[in-house]
């Protein structure tokens, strides 16, 4: 149970719950709560709704900003104990409260979204009330945005679990209330899941639960209050990838049976204009330097984890220079597959080194993608991502055979 709770409206039951996880979001949670409340009144006004701020004991007045919003929609504040951080910990408190309230539908939105609108609540919530088990958003994205998703999370989860969920770590989602119980009883909670690994963990748990998954077309980009994708890159990379790899180990009986992949249902695509995402600048030279540095720092480690052919390929790529730099899709799939296999047999301390050693390869893959798609439109770049996913699927028999 949450360490701390304030439930001023004494809510004991709800049909629709919107959860807003936060840590020190006093500046933005007021606006987000206001938009959520408008959405609930406009689209789910006939149902019992509640907004829950699941917080990490913020010290900047997040709770006060949350309660200060003027709305008739009741609100609950939950918090982890002081010093306990992480979105996953926040959402675990939310899941427990959802179970207690016996909610039918749950929507999760991040606290720091600058451009959130009431319609987002409908897009993430309505498919659940119509029968979907899990709803993942589809934001308009620039081709160089969300590189971790494009290079690793989407291709890997798609080829493993056979469901094409394009933005599984977007940070927002909808799900049926009964799924909260599945989340709570999952044996795969880990330190990484308690932090940023929670998004891919929820999506993967939903895929493994064999429930209908829907993607909600949001029609716009998602703009964060503060957005520096590289600020916490190493931490995010480790938490997300370790969650993916832990789930691979735990769900092997499922994914070993999966062949190819299937689409999901879509929601919100009718008469929807799409806003153009803002361009994302990428420093190619810096990415190349990070790859070369990785070659120097982790050559021995790579040789231990990867077979000779793959290692020589990485050396070959190093020798190509920035102008011709390319990590072929098949090589990339092998890197991630072999790393997953190695991860399984490693001690915790060695796993940390594995992620440090994979990070320059990931940055190299981003560089490779940027070079490959620099003259492409967003649509063409998207087709390139889809084509890389197909390569992952084609190479999956290798993974299945090596996964002893």
């Amino acid at each position: 149970m949450a360490f701390y709770q304030e439930n001023p409206h004494a809510v004991t039951k709800a049909d629709v719950v919107v959860g807003i996880p936060s840590f020190n979001e006093a500046e933005s949670i007021g606006r987000t709560t206001e938009q959520v409340a408008k959405g609930l009144v406009e689209f789910f006004g006939h149902l019992n709704c509640v907004i829950i701020n699941c917080d990490n004991s913020s010290s900047d007045g997040t709770k006060e900003a949350f309660f200060n919003v003027s709305t008739e929609v009741p609100r609950i504040y939950l918090s982890t104990p002081p010093g306990v951080r992480g979105k996953g910990n926040n959402l675990r408190n939310l899941f427990e409260k959802v179970r207690e309230l016996q909610a039918q539908a749950v929507v999760v939105v991040e606290a720091d979204i600058k451009n959130m609108a009431p319609g987002w609540i409908r897009k993430l919530g309505e498919p659940v009330l119509k029968g979907a088990g899990f709803v993942s958003p589809l934001y308009a994205r620039h081709k160089y945005e969300a590189t971790l998703t494009n290079s690793i999370v989407y291709p890997l989860t798609r080829c493993l679990y056979g469901r094409r969920v394009r933005q599984p770590i977007a940070g927002d989602c909808g799900f049926k209330g009964s799924l909260a119980e599945e989340f709570l009883k999952s044996p795969f909670w880990s330190e990484a899941v308690e932090q940023s690994g929670i998004d891919i963990w929820m999506a993967t748990t939903a895929m493994n639960a064999r429930i209908p998954i829907c993607q909600a077309f949001m029609g716009c980009p998602k703009l964060h209050r503060v957005k520096d994708p590289y600020a916490q890159l190493a931490v995010l990379f480790r938490q997300v990838l370790s969650t993916v790899y832990d789930l691979m180990a735990g769900c092997a009986d499922f994914w070993r049976q999966v062949k190819w992949s299937k689409p999901t249902a879509l929601f919100g695509v009718d008469n929807q204009e799409t806003e153009t995402p803002l361009p994302v600048e990428i420093n190619l030279t810096r990415l190349h330097e990070r790859y070369l540095q990785g070659c120097n720092d982790y050559a021995d480690f790579w040789q231990r984890v990867f077979d000779q052919t793959l290692y020589h390929k990485l050396e070959e790529i190093r020798s190509m220079g920035l102008q011709h730099f390319s990590i072929p899709s098949q090589t990339w799939a092998r890197i991630l597959f072999d790393a997953a296999i190695a991860y399984r047999g490693m001690a915790e301390s060695e796993r940390a080194t594995l992620f440090d050693a994979l990070l320059p390869l990931y940055l190299g893959k981003v560089l490779s993608f940027v070079k490959r798609t620099e003259r492409m439109s967003l649509q063409q770049a998207e087709e390139q991502v889809e084509s890389e996913c197909t390569v992952f699927e084609e190479n999956k028999p290798y993974l299945v055979s090596e996964w002893k």
Binding site: R163, R210, K259, W260, K262, P263, A265, L266, V269
Partner: protein
Amino acid sequence: MAKILVVDDEEHIRLLYSEELKDAGYEVITAESGFQLLERIEEEKPDLVILDIKMVDYNGLDLLQDIRNRFYDLPVILSTAYDTFKEDMKSIAADFYVVKSFDLTELKKKIAVALETRLPT
């Protein structure tokens, strides 16, 4: 034998697909429009649907959403003369997107994969 439903308003396409796919070992049924398509699918229980996008009275992309909402995992291959529809978000609800051609090699390949796709139940 897998049963394939071909939905296309052009008779020569229905004929071409029927003959070639029958030769390839599939059972083929056809529909000339999207009229009562969901009911037809309910009755015939095809293993896969090949759906034209641009039909006189029906938009295949809208039909695709209806199919996906009711028959969540039924494989659907969009078949069209125009590759520009690929840019429509609605097309991602299809298993595959194939540009019409008299050479059905690509289509047959996609059919094989779509029918082979396996998710544990």
